[in-house]
Each structure stands twice: as C-alpha cells, then as structure tokens.
Assembly symmetry: C2
Homo-oligomer: 166 residues x 2
DNA sequence: ATTTATGCAAATCCTTTGCAAATCT
DNA sequence: AGATTTGCAAAGGATTTGCATAAAT
C-alpha cells in the first residue's frame, strides 16, 4: 500500500488583501492602514509565525508604518475569522499559517529543531466522517500533529539549524 | 465500510502510584508526601483536568495535606515525563489525562459545551507509518483533535450542561 | 549530614483591556 | 460629524523561578 501526502495548490480569485478587504466590509469594519500593512506582510512569504515574529518583521519593514502590539493581535484574530489564516497552539504560543488559497493539510513537528513539515491526508477525512456517524458528532475541523524527529535531526546529533519559532 | 472507534482496556502490573515511585527512584528523585498525594488524587477518577482543577480538589480533600501551586505544576510535569499522564493544549490551558494503563486514543472536542469524547483509530497509526517513510521522519507521538458539536449540542440550542473545564 | 523538594513571593510570558486620541466613512 | 481603531499603559491568566526553610535519604 502506498499513499501520497504531497500538497497540491489551490487557485483563488482574489488576492489575500482583496479577500480581507471584502471580509472587513461585510462586517462593517474599516480598512485601515495597519490592517493592510499586516495582511501584506503576512502573505509576503509562506511560513509559520507567531505574533512576536510578525511584530519584529513589521518593525524592520518600517516603511514608516508602525503597528502596535495590541493591533497586531487584534488583526491576527480577524485574519483567522476571515479564513485567511489558520492558527494552532504549539507549546503555549499561538502559531499562524496561511489558510486562504492553501490546500488543507496537517503537520509533522520536529521536537528537536522545531521545524514544521506539512502533509495532506485524505484518510483523515474518512476517519472524521466515520466518527460523525458513530458519535452523532458534527465535525467542523481538526488539528493533527505528528511529533518526532525530522530527517536532519535523526542523522546529526545537532539539528541543522535551530529555528527560533516555527 | 464500517470502522469502530471504541476503546478497549489495558492491563497493567503496577498501580499508578507504584509506577510513579519506580520512576522517581530511577531518576534519583525523592518520594515525598506531596508527590504521593498528587498521584493518588489524579488517579482517583478518570477525567480530564488542568492544574487549577487539581489544586481545587486537593484543597478540598484537605486530609491535612496541603500542596502548593508550584509543586502541583512541578509534579504534573513529572507525571507526564513518567508516562503516567498525557497533556494537551486546549485554548491556552494545559489539560491532562491518564495515559498509563489507558488505551491510546484521540479526542472529539465539542466547542459548545467543551466536552471531550475519546476514540481510537488504527487508521491513524497507518497514516503515521506512511508519513515516516515518505518524509524520513521518526514519529514518536501525535495529537489529533476533531472539533465540532457533540450530539447534545447539535439538538438543543443550549448545551446539556456547561462543563467548566474538561 | 547531605541533598533534594517545598512554599512563598515575585517574576515571566503571552495576550487582552480600558480609555483618550487618531483615523475612517 | 460620528463611529470605529489605534496606541499606550496597565491588567490578566497560566506557569515558572529564586531562594530560604523543610523534608527525605
């Protein structure tokens, strides 16, 4: 039996920023400078990050745009509500990743270097459906993380590089 | 296709307390009154709890044994290290449950009443094995939580009872 | 007699809140 | 103008730490 856990890609009509503006309007919220700076920065690259990382990046970008800590937290929640970001809890801190335009997936978490590897499994959906039947439970989502050691950390005594967050 | 997610039982030779004493000795740690009070209390019933719950229960038991907050936290970590407890993170707080002598399982988490339903799935182990091969990753554990609405909360507008923690 | 553990108070970490001033629509 | 947002400072909740005292080996 051979399964494949590779990720595909998903086409989306609107850019994250446009999608967020749409969301804000639908909620009667305002399109402010800081909200735009944050969406843009968040979707500039694809990686996992936490509020602290984002605050740091924003202070470096520093195109004159300074965003306060509370606003970063507030906006991250909105991005999650809007479906643009997905959040999970990794040892105490909240970690975010792109959700919009990105295929559904779960993670392998290396406990040595903290690397996160993404994978997709159809099997999991099947498990969820079977559970819904058996427990009369309405499944709306899930979080699955396999923990262990990544290929780099299995070989060398030291992790290839110590990732600060991810 | 029909799967069954029911939990079986596991036989164990030593009581949790004995198992913990064994662990402590192997680590050169001491068998103190508070550590014993805590293991006993933790394994008195099977449910999910957090540090605060335990502290509350301990203050009620109050057989003269008072255990401080830091000691409760310290001992809970040791119980996890010893394999007696398993911990997971539910919206910010750390929740514990029995691991020793209890079959491997995962959870359905009702986001309305906070109930946790346990289930077991062999399929998941298969997924983990396939991932190990594809990513050369050494899987040592996993956490899977399906979120949604339990049967009670799907039917009534209000959850059957508002569980404080679980 | 040593050495580890406990309890207290205070500190930390991450995140949230109250509120006046600034910014959208 | 009128309502929502922002930033600041401070509050909060959960968990951890420094250190003198108590308890275990």
């Amino acid at each position: 039996m051979s399964q494949d856990f590779s990720l595909g890609t998903v086409n989306v009509a609107l850019s994250p920023r446009e999608r967020f503006e749409e969301f804000l309007q639908s909620k009667g919220k305002r399109i402010t400078q800081q909200r735009l700076v944050i969406v843009d920065e968040v979707f500039r690259r694809h990686d996992h990050f936490d509020a602290e990382d984002l605050i740091l990046h924003l202070s470096k970008v520093a195109e004159g745009q300074r965003v306060s800590r509370p606003t970063v937290y507030r906006t991250l929640s909105e991005l999650v509500d809007s479906g643009l970001l997905r959040s999970m809890n990794l040892s105490g801190r909240t970690v975010y990743e792109h959700d919009y335009g990105y295929p559904q997936h779960d993670h392998l978490h290396c406990e040595k270097c903290n690397k996160l590897i993404e994978f997709h499994s159809d099997e999991l959906a099947a498990i969820g459906e079977a559970l819904e039947r058996q427990y009369q439970f309405r499944v709306t989502g899930h979080r699955l993380i396999f923990t262990g050691l990544c290929s780099d950390c299995r070989v060398h005594k030291r992790p290839a590089r110590k990732l600060d967050l991810v």
